[in-house]
Amino acid sequence: MSTAMEDPSSAVHLWRSTPWSWMRPEDADSTAVRMVLHDAAGSVSLNEGSPDLFPVVVDGPETTLPDVDDIARHTLADLDTAPMHLSLEGHHEEVVNVDLRAAGHVAVGRLHITCKGQAVVHLHLSGDAGWCGLHLTGKVANGSHLSVVVTDELHLESRVVRCDDWRVGRDATFETGTLSVGGFRRKSDLRHHLDATGGNVRIGLAVHGQGTRHDDHHVEIHHHVGHTSSSLVANVACGGRSRSVGTGRLVIDAGADGTDAGQVFRNLLLSQGARADAIPELEVLADDVSAAHGAASASLDEEQLHYLMSRGLGPEEAAAMIVEGFLADAFRPIAAAEARRTLRDRLTVHLDCARIT
């Protein structure tokens, strides 16, 4: 039980900006996040999974709980003893939609996805749970292509803890896009492991901060072997007194020559009170690699505003268009058109609602 573990010190990098004490569930009585599979035309099933399925990796080879010293993952495992398993085999033409509905004081869900073939999965997280925990794990088999879209539209008063652990096989591609707009306080710890040559990870992350929303995304990409590639684009637009923290940890193991990795964090500050920190971190132990990272923060570009206004858009509409475009541009690394379209559509709906309210 996680309660047996001590709270991580604020000196622990992962919890420096968002202490666990802010994020831990306050009520031990939990309900499961209700998972409903849509539009799968009978070719996909969502089944109860074995806890053994969950491959949790911190830095080394694959292991499972309880060998990992990670309080968030332990807490999620303790609260959800009936994880679900989504098995995807063959080529899926249609997007596989899974609704994740979080209700009650504490709602938690664990989902393991395996892919042998090609699929686009849309996980839509919604509901009004006071605290929501989500653990996503998965394996992309050799030569497979999996796109996972996560749209998080939890109630604005929810707290959210999300952990991901993904493993990518030989000549396989895993791409994932996250639209983070829900919950008032969020901590995400997303880890991706390239286990075999030819593996490719592409990540797009769009974060919209409003009011006093606090959003902390730790994204880790670990190249265990060479001739693998990864890209991460994180675009954050913060308004009001919201705060965002984005950490990109890129690890390239010794001997992983031929790795090609790039990370970029961009922050768009929409108000004086907003704050966004982007912290790319590189641990490169191989010699012959390409590893690029960058971070930039700026306010709205006056020249872009002028250009749009010269086309008849009012100042607010022009600013809204720039913000929407900026956030949508985070999904540029994602090749699957359906995945990009899904993210874009949800983003448009969110921003339209945000403007109305």
Partner: protein, 248 residues
């Protein structure tokens, strides 16, 4: 008040406290095509930016009236909605905003109502045909990764859809190959005959395809000479030296 579509009188303007325009006088009537030529730094693009209302420029003296209205009383988007259009020399990229979405919203803003989807598609296709543009343009992000020629075509596409009453085209011909230049010229020529056009250019080649009624020469922030299309031909042949003020 003068009766031109665009009336510029004794216009002085500064950017970062440096005076660029030093008394520009220019009147363009509906249906007229004017061209302004001049050396780099003469103030041609500044004039276009000031008329469109770029916030970096300050009018310190003189006036700009469009259709009888003092333009300084209008915000940039209000100028656009009243029928003023600027084709930018260096159009800005808007990453993440698809061209199709941008065009639809822009047309809706200028016309005051959203166009019917089917009619707009047809209108858009017709305009793209004039410019020889592929539909794949519509899903790309505005000016993001565009070549110089693609940017200029997109500017003219916007002009065709917005159907301005007064179009300011700032070096729309620069960086275009022959085929692209012809396409852009065709686009300009297909603008309503009641519209006024101000072409800012360095070269006569565009003016062979879009024949101006009046050619102006701007030097050091002033229009110092005006004439017919033959003036552009002489500038092409002889340069600007013969127009330069004598120095002691």
């Amino acid at each position: 008040m003068a009766g031109g579509l665009l009336d510029v009188k004794g216009l002085h303007a500064t950017v970062e406290e440096t005076e660029i325009l030093r008394g520009v006088d220019l009147t363009i009537n509906a249906g007229e095509v004017h061209a302004i030529m001049g050396l780099n730094g003469a103030g041609k693009s500044t004039l276009a930016s000031v008329i469109m209302g770029h916030p970096d420029y300050e009018i310190t003296e003189g006036s700009v009236h469009y259709d009888g209205q003092d333009l300084t009383e209008l915000e940039v988007h209000e100028r656009a909605r009243s029928g003023l259009f600027l084709s930018f020399q260096y159009p800005h990229a808007i990453p993440g905003v698809q061209v199709g979405t941008f065009l639809r919203k822009s047309v809706a803003a200028v016309r005051g109502e959203a166009p019917k989807a089917r009619a707009f598609r047809q209108e858009l296709q017709a305009a793209m045909d004039v410019l020889g543009m592929d539909r794949s343009f519509l899903s790309r992000y505005v000016n993001d990764g565009f070549s110089g020629g693609e940017k200029k075509r997109l500017e003219i596409l916007q002009m065709l859809l917005l159907q301005p009453r007064m179009a300011l085209l700032d070096e729309t011909d620069s960086g275009l190959d022959i085929d692209a230049l012809k396409a852009v010229a065709q686009g300009i020529n297909s603008l309503s005959k009641d519209s006024g056009v101000l072409l800012i250019t360095h070269y006569n080649r565009l003016l062979e395809l879009v024949v101006p009624d009046v050619v102006h020469v701007m030097i050091d922030g002033r229009i110092i000479q005006s004439g017919g299309p033959e003036l552009a031909q002489r500038l092409e042949a002889d340069g600007y030296e013969w127009l330069m003020p004598a120095t002691a």
